[in-house]
């Protein structure tokens, strides 16, 4: 089974696009290694702008470049890029409406053992409240490629969140009809729906497979675009399956689960369970260990699904 780093795919795709699009530039904050951007730097040294360890400056510089017609992709660790430069994202990118693409690398708990300073578990909460910035997260290499291509054409601010770990394939090719803002139903079902994005899409699919053996038909939806969120798909899932579980590699406060809940409670209230990292400094460890610790494993998701279905049938 393929296990390819999404960041590597982003770099390869950008190299290809940059061949015909001379305005593509990449900015790094001493991060070309961790962002897998070295091949881009070797291929287009004049279009790799090194800013050093200065996240506020990197976002401001990118805004200035975009204002002058360049298409900057800023590749910097998600934890620093989003919180250190939150104000530059808010004012110079979102408010000034500059065509800047932020690539938050090693997002979520990718740097699990490095501690809370290196976790980015607040980025979705923060950026979701800023108008005029798209938030996307690829689930595998095919989606990473599709996203990079589409974002290079899309004119406006966007944040692509990229995990550090190589991920297993969710799709078999790029041809599954990727569209910004439109969620992809990977598995049909009517017992409940699991909505998730990024690395945990695969975990959700594994859980749905286990559930199937127990006679539970779980719908699995890949919400690759967190903002603007696909409301139609969420409402449909709530109506047709009557219970919704969200999984996020993010704080359970104000993140993806909250975004889904906002749609559910105002349109079709159904029992929900929000799985993610609780409001505490995440326990250190490898991603898989940390996920398991917080109940994000195929086995535990099955248990949570059963509880949710029980509430759906019998009430709280």
């Amino acid at each position: 089974m393929n296990k390819i780093h999404n960041r590597q795919v982003v770099c390869e795709t950008l190299i290809e696009i940059a061949k015909s699009d001379k305005d593509i530039v990449v900015l790094c904050s001493d991060s070309r290694g961790s962002a897998s951007m070295k091949p881009f730097a070797e291929k287009y040294p004049e279009r790799l702008i090194e800013i050093g360890i200065a996240e506020q400056n990197i976002v401001g510089v990118a805004a200035g470049l975009a204002h002058s017609g360049k298409k900057p992709f800023v590749a910097s660790p998600a934890c620093f890029l989003t919180t250190r430069s939150a104000e530059q994202i808010k004012v110079d990118v979102s408010y000034s409406n500059t065509n800047v693409k932020l690539l938050g690398i090693s997002s979520g708990i990718s740097y699990g053992a490095l501690g809370m300073s290196h976790h980015s578990l607040q980025d979705i909460a923060l950026l979701r409240a800023i108008p005029n910035i798209m938030i996307v997260v690829p689930a595998d290499r095919f989606e990473a490629e599709n996203m990079t291509r589409v974002l290079s054409e899309y004119k406006g601010p966007a944040y692509m969140r990229l995990g550090r770990n190589p991920v297993e394939d969710v799709y078999s090719s790029c041809d599954y009809g990727f569209e910004l803002g439109r969620a992809v139903t990977l598995k049909e079902g009517d017992s409940l729906s699991i909505l998730t994005f990024g690395e945990t899409v695969k975990t959700a699919l594994d859980a749905a497979e286990l559930m199937e053996k127990e006679g539970i038909k779980c719908r699995v939806i890949n919400m690759h675009t967190i903002k603007p969120i696909d409301e139609e798909c969420i409402i449909k899932a709530a109506k047709e399956t009557g219970a919704i579980m969200t999984i996020e590699e993010h704080s359970i406060l104000s993140g993806f689960g909250a975004a889904v809940a906002e749609v559910v409670v105002q349109n079709c209230p159904v029992p929900m369970k929000i799985m993610g990292i609780p409001d505490e400094p995440a326990i250190p460890g490898k991603s898989k260990e940390v996920f398991a610790h917080y109940g994000i494993s195929a086995e535990n998701l099955c248990k949570e699904a059963e509880k949710l279905i029980n509430i759906k049938k019998n009430g709280w």
């Binding site: 530039v25 004049e46 279009r47 702008i49 800013i51 050093g52 200065a54 506020q56 400056n57 976002v59 401001g60 510089v61 990118a62 805004a63 200035g64 470049l65 975009a66 204002h67 002058s68 017609g69 360049k70 900057p72 104000e87 530059q88 808010k90 004012v91 110079d92 408010y95 000034s96 409406n97």
Partner: protein, 280 residues
């Protein structure tokens, strides 16, 4: 020579007229930041009437020089200069600070001539670095001017950008500091000492000039291309007076965003009208 002298008088007159416009819009709306607007007026006049390559009828002209007001709160002078230069009809300033107006208290791109939305301090120089890098990449000969306040220099991002400008040898970037030595709390040197300011910028690799920020010919001279050193970004420290031109406002931090009463407005107008008369 005579022609030059008369041009200088014209620019001084223009500055006095802009100050008169500032006093009007600030009094009318009971809003704005008058102290810093009055201190930067001569700098803006030098840029917009003498130095910068611009076309008010074509604000997006690709060859234009770029300007970023990093000290975005000093918008009053900026609006008055842009209106007077013909970027938009002066009448539109009647809506300044009113409900739903495009003319808000900080620069925004809805206004013709304004390049970027600013207002959060310490952002402008980074944006200028990006514009200057793009200019170099595209072999354009436009220059990028960034006007900062001195209080703003406590923001760390300014120094990140200062390092990057020298690193990328951005001789097409000119930063100007409106050095009026006052910020909202009081003297900059009491709030967060900046001296030796010139040495700081020199050590960051900039070509530094210090000028009288109210002497328009000196400002123009410092901003001219002839003052450029190849491969080195330029910094002009413009020594200014906060509240310049209105005696009771000069060097008084309480006029950072003070609002005039009717008597004060009358006095301010009289002083400026007198100055206009002398220059005529």
């Amino acid at each position: 020579m005579n022609k030059k002298i008369s041009q200088n008088v014209n620019l001084q007159k223009k500055a006095a007229q802009i100050r008169r416009d500032i006093v009007d819009i600030v009094y009318r709306t009971s809003a704005g930041h008058i102290g810093g607007s009055l201190s930067e007026t001569d700098i803006l006049v030098a840029l917009y009437y003498e130095v910068m390559k611009i076309d008010p009828k074509n604000p997006h002209w690709s060859e234009r020089d770029r300007f970023i007001l990093s000290k975005g709160h000093a918008i009053d002078a900026y609006y008055c200069v842009l209106a007077d230069r013909g970027f938009f009809d002066k009448e539109r300033l009647q809506t300044y600070s009113q409900f739903g107006s495009d003319f808000i208290g900080h620069p925004n791109r809805a206004i013709p001539g304004i390049e970027m939305n600013t207002g959060a301090l310490g952002h402008g120089l980074s944006i200028g670095v990006g514009m200057a890098i793009a200019g170099k990449m595209d072999n354009k000969d436009y220059r990028v001017f960034v006007l900062m306040g001195d209080g703003e220099l406590a923001e760390g991002s300014v120094w990140e950008a200062a390092m990057a400008a020298a690193n990328y040898k951005l001789d097409n970037l000119v930063a100007i500091i409106d050095r009026n030595r006052l910020q909202i709390t009081g003297k900059t040197e009491d709030v967060m000492a900046l001296t030796p300011l010139e040495d700081k910028w020199k050590s960051f690799g900039w070509n530094v000039s210090v000028v009288d920020g109210h002497d328009i010919p000196s400002i123009c001279n410092a901003l001219s291309k002839e003052n450029k050193i190849d491969g080195v970004p330029s910094l002009i420290i413009a020594e200014t007076i906060k509240g310049k031109g209105i005696s009771f406002m000069e060097n008084n931090a309480s006029w950072h965003h003070g609002v005039m009463n009717a008597d004060q407005y009358k006095m301010a107008c009289e002083e400026l009208d007198k100055m206009l008369e002398v220059l005529s």
